[in-house]
Symmetry: C5
Subunit: 96 residues, 5 copies
Amino acid sequence: MILAKVKGTVVSSRKAEKMAGVRLLLLEKIDPVSLEGKNDFVVAMDGVGAGLDEIVFYVSGSGARMAETTKGLPTDATVTAIVDVIEQNGHIAYKK
Amino acid sequence: MILAKVKGTVVSSRKAEKMAGVRLLLLEKIDPVSLEGKNDFVVAMDGVGAGLDEIVFYVSGSGARMAETTKGLPTDATVTAIVDVIEQNGHIAYKK
Amino acid sequence: MILAKVKGTVVSSRKAEKMAGVRLLLLEKIDPVSLEGKNDFVVAMDGVGAGLDEIVFYVSGSGARMAETTKGLPTDATVTAIVDVIEQNGHIAYKK
Amino acid sequence: MILAKVKGTVVSSRKAEKMAGVRLLLLEKIDPVSLEGKNDFVVAMDGVGAGLDEIVFYVSGSGARMAETTKGLPTDATVTAIVDVIEQNGHIAYKK
Amino acid sequence: MILAKVKGTVVSSRKAEKMAGVRLLLLEKIDPVSLEGKNDFVVAMDGVGAGLDEIVFYVSGSGARMAETTKGLPTDATVTAIVDVIEQNGHIAYKK
């Protein structure tokens, strides 16, 4: 899974039928040490109700369809967790 | 899913049988902030009837076969949405 | 799918049993604008009878096993189309 | 599979239901020659009880769900081995 | 599939149960023109009995579990062929 920050949302009215009602998040991947954005973006389905600027991680590939809310959906990226704590070398690098 | 712009089409007469009648789009990945092309291209099946210069996103991997129109097809990239709005940090970064 | 040019073949006598008789192509990825090689190579199974120097595209991942000739084979890249035309912005960028 | 070092853990209280009780490791990919970190991080499920600073490898994609403890979980990266020895060109490059 | 050279082996006593008895190879990806190593390494399961310094290719993703010896194993990379010949533009670029 890859750590990222929620930067916004993507809206589409003309899309694959199964996607009706699914919330689409614009994520920017972050460096887990500096927590800075890497200017590398991905659109992910929201599996946890994540909000703007929250640090999350997403699962890619077929794993993106293993969340409770994304079974059978045409997704390759789903946010499956809002991060509370990142611990590195015994220190708290991030705390929500 | 990855944001991209439709730059053209690819035509093939000698291809895997199942692909008969499938429209193939040439996509250029874009930066979601500047909306500029990244000179990184992919050929994707069209799952939504996207037209030239439209901003779309595509799903890769096995998810590319989860759209209504691509089940069982030999694809690793399918356009599943034409983008209406990209919202970033509460502002409209793109509106169709 | 990714556009590439057939640069040669790879031959192996000691390989997974199911691969017997399968033709293995050495592909170089190309830039769809300049049609130049990107010095990035992949070995793909041949699903369409592609010849040297032909421009093709290949499908990766599990999609590589969705062609008529590659079901159940240990492949992550299969050529599924020989390209006739690449059209960009309404102009013919490549014609076979 | 990719060699990496365990750098810490990631904790989340709001996550996909199936993930309850799963330990999440923050991994940094390493160069197998120098054993130095590559400043490239991934969050992986722990399939072997790996500890801080241990050298491990993880499996990505659908293979991440083929460990005994990760079947059906929404993961794209699972640590499946703690490395004892890396042998290169007949020499021991790393020994635990 | 990606061309690589066998650079060594990786040994682990604490690993996913199904991996018992599986030989793990350390591979370095090579440039198919110069045959030089690219300083990019991957750990792969051995599906063909490859030896040190042999040029092979490996299959990634779910295809890595389609070899006779890797069904159901937690792998994302399996060596499925020892390369005898690489032919480029009608010339022999490599012969074992």
